[in-house]
């Protein structure tokens, strides 16, 4: 019964904080579907047999079950629909659900709409809302916001792996500069400048070792992705479809401090892992996806990726969790700029969360769309130049990440 899962199209609204031009969520979703219809004229909304909605927090949306507004607006009454919520990994989890739906053979054409409207509240209030996904009984009001928890994890990780502030600043500059080639990216639309390692090093302290330019952006944005069976892909978009060859989803503790001595991880990976430093759920879900997609040597078999760089430090930690480098090679892996557009495994050519933006429910969908564009040869059409086009890519990885590493998914996409 199990059938191959494909992606045949998708689009995002511009990501921004404040006005984007598509002020309503249902209006934004409609524009994303229309852009997809222009790319795939044979696709009709009538072909959909399931809609999955990807949205993190109704605190930002001031509306319970807001997916009902979008679904109704798209004219899809009668079609089954539900919402997936899984923190920062909401988009990845929605994609996981869509992939399973098609894989099962029960559905053939699944639309995924993701969004967040984080500019409904002030930035500092927004940070506190996100912090409510920490364990508020034990963590709210002590330090209080996610960058601080990430900084505490990264500080020890960087020392254990001999990675410096300058090393991770390279990653921050890379992603924001990649975003300068992407007209929908928030960094392009607002800050609009190329930056250097020194700019990152000199930006204001958020939480040591993380500075302002090491952090992603709070955003408003909507994204739409079209997931389907191979039969349907061959029918409506035979020249520009990609296959999802591997999927993986894993979990870790809500409080980062509870990862020490955790019997669940001791059992899988032996004592002393993941410490408070490694993203075990990333390693675990990557292993699942690699096995399914027959990836034996990740840095060789994977050509590029769109990964969850909420902080430059997390991108570095993710490299290691994905098996691209180990504790002895990670610092050199970063310094050799192997993940830049000139490197052998470019990461976040679309700008990532640091450059494109991070409207939580739309983020994992955005990463998947950028990965799809690369594999389907659509970058010259979607970006401003070929500077951010990966040369002749065959295989890409999409990574979506939640909490303090509490839920993480990985997907292997291949060109068809």
């Amino acid at each position: 019964m199990s059938q191959k899962v494909c992606i045949i199209g998708g689009a995002t609204t511009p990501f921004d904080y404040g006005a984007t031009g598509f002020e309503s969520i249902e209006g934004g979703a409609a524009e994303c579907v229309k852009e997809t219809q222009q790319d795939v004229p044979e696709f009709s909304l009538r072909d959909l047999d399931l809609m999955i909605y990807s949205h993190f927090s109704v605190h930002f949306g001031h509306q319970l079950a807001p997916e009902w507004i979008i679904h109704d607006h798209l004219g899809l009454v009668g079609l089954p629909h539900y919402r997936v919520e899984n923190g920062g990994n909401t988009g990845g989890s929605a994609l996981y659900a869509a992939a399973l739906a098609v894989m099962s053979g029960h559905h053939n054409v699944v639309g995924v709409v993701g969004w967040e409207t984080m500019d409904s509240v002030s930035q500092s209030q927004g940070s506190e809302f996100i912090a409510m996904a920490s364990d508020i009984r034990y963590e709210l009001m002590v330090g209080g916001i996610y960058p601080i928890y990430y900084a505490a994890m990264a500080n020890k990780w960087m020392k254990d792996n001999k990675v410096t502030e300058e090393d991770v600043a390279l990653i921050a500059a890379k992603n924001k500069n990649n975003a300068m080639d992407n007209p929908k990216a928030q960094w392009y639309r607002n800050d609009h400048k190329y930056i250097t390692v020194d700019d990152v090093m000199n930006s204001r302290l958020i939480s040591y070792p993380i500075k302002k330019l090491d952090c992603c952006l709070m955003s408003r944005g909507v994204a739409f992705l079209l997931v389907c069976s191979e039969d349907y892909a061959k029918k409506v978009n035979p020249d520009h479809y990609v296959t999802i060859d591997g999927v993986g989803l894993s979990s870790c503790t809500i409080r980062a401090g509870d990862r020490l001595n955790n019997p669940g991880w001791n059992e899988r990976y032996g004592p002393g892992y993941p410490e408070m430093t490694e993203f075990a759920a990333c390693r675990n879900s990557a292993e699942q996806a690699y096995k399914m997609a027959d990836i034996k040597d990740p840095p060789k078999d994977i050509d590029f990726g769109e990964i969850h760089d909420a902080f430059s430090t997390s991108e570095a930690q993710i490299y290691k969790a994905l098996g691209l480098a180990n504790e002895n090679t990670i610092a050199k892996f970063i310094r050799d700029e192997r993940t830049s557009m000139y490197g052998d495994i470019p990461m976040n050519p679309g700008g990532g969360l640091l450059g494109y933006g991070h409207p939580v429910g739309a983020t994992g969908i955005m990463s998947t769309i950028e990965c799809y564009y690369q594999l389907a040869g659509m970058i010259p059409k979607k970006h401003l130049s070929k500077k951010t086009e990966v040369p002749d890519p065959q295989c890409g990885i999409v990574n979506s990440h939640a909490g303090t590493g509490t839920s993480i998914s990985n997907f292997i996409l291949r060109r068809k």
Partner: protein, 222 residues
């Protein structure tokens, strides 16, 4: 009549509800539950776009249930942990059932922890949520308390931000009794009395340079 009869009947079947005989309300005078209300709007010059301001103010009741002894412990100046009688693992923050799958969700027992801890990792926050801005810079540490198998986040006071170290020994200090609210903000960490900072080095200087503007910025907050 029928309805109230049924309610009484159902109540007889279950355990007695707790009788709450100590109640404190320390919310600031300006915090009021007004529910949902439209409180304003703005319209663009060309009158094509409107933003509306919706105010929503809600009091939540966090029912701590089986975790309650930890939070009541804070009011009494104690750190209460839990311990599994089967495998011996213990925790702060507490678990009411063991995390070890072999223990088959064994109910744990309460243990009072010593007021000592050890730094596992740390960071210096120069930015935070709205309610914490005036306390910046904040040293946040994850520290293991007593025999706890896990680390707990809280602030470290009584030390320059650049002097914090991995593995440093800490004591737990509670706020004066009348200021406690039964939440983790009732206590913080401080270095133990015999602890002395190591000499200035390159990293400490870097941290000092990063936090200096934070001190200046906080002075400008009203």
């Amino acid at each position: 009549m029928m309805k109230s009869f049924l309610v009484t009947k159902n109540k007889d079947k279950f355990a007695d509800p707790p009788k709450f005989n100590e109640r404190k309300d320390y919310r600031p005078a300006d915090v009021k539950e007004t529910g949902l209300s439209f409180v304003g709007h703005e319209i663009s010059e060309d009158r094509t776009v409107i933003n509306q301001f919706l105010h929503y103010d809600q009091l939540y009741t966090i029912r701590h249930g089986w975790n309650s002894r930890f939070f009541i412990g804070l009011l009494d100046g104690k750190i209460m942990g839990t311990r599994c009688p089967k495998c011996g693992d213990s925790w702060v923050p507490v678990r009411t059932h063991c995390w070890n799958l072999n223990c088959k969700l064994q109910k744990t027992e309460w243990v009072e922890m010593p007021l000592t801890a050890k730094v596992h990792t740390w960071t210096i926050a120069g930015w935070s949520g709205r309610s914490s801005l005036k306390r910046l810079p904040i040293i946040l540490v994850y520290a293991s308390i007593g025999t706890s198998k896990v680390a707990m986040a809280n602030e470290l006071h009584g030390i320059n931000p650049w002097d914090v170290e991995f593995g440093m020994p800490l004591k737990i200090v509670f706020k004066p009794k009348e200021q406690r609210v039964g939440a983790v903000i009732d206590f913080h960490f401080e270095p133990v009395d015999f602890w002395k900072p190591s000499p200035m080095n390159e990293e400490k200087q870097r941290i000092k340079d990063l936090v200096t503007p934070v001190y200046e910025w906080v002075k400008t907050l009203k």
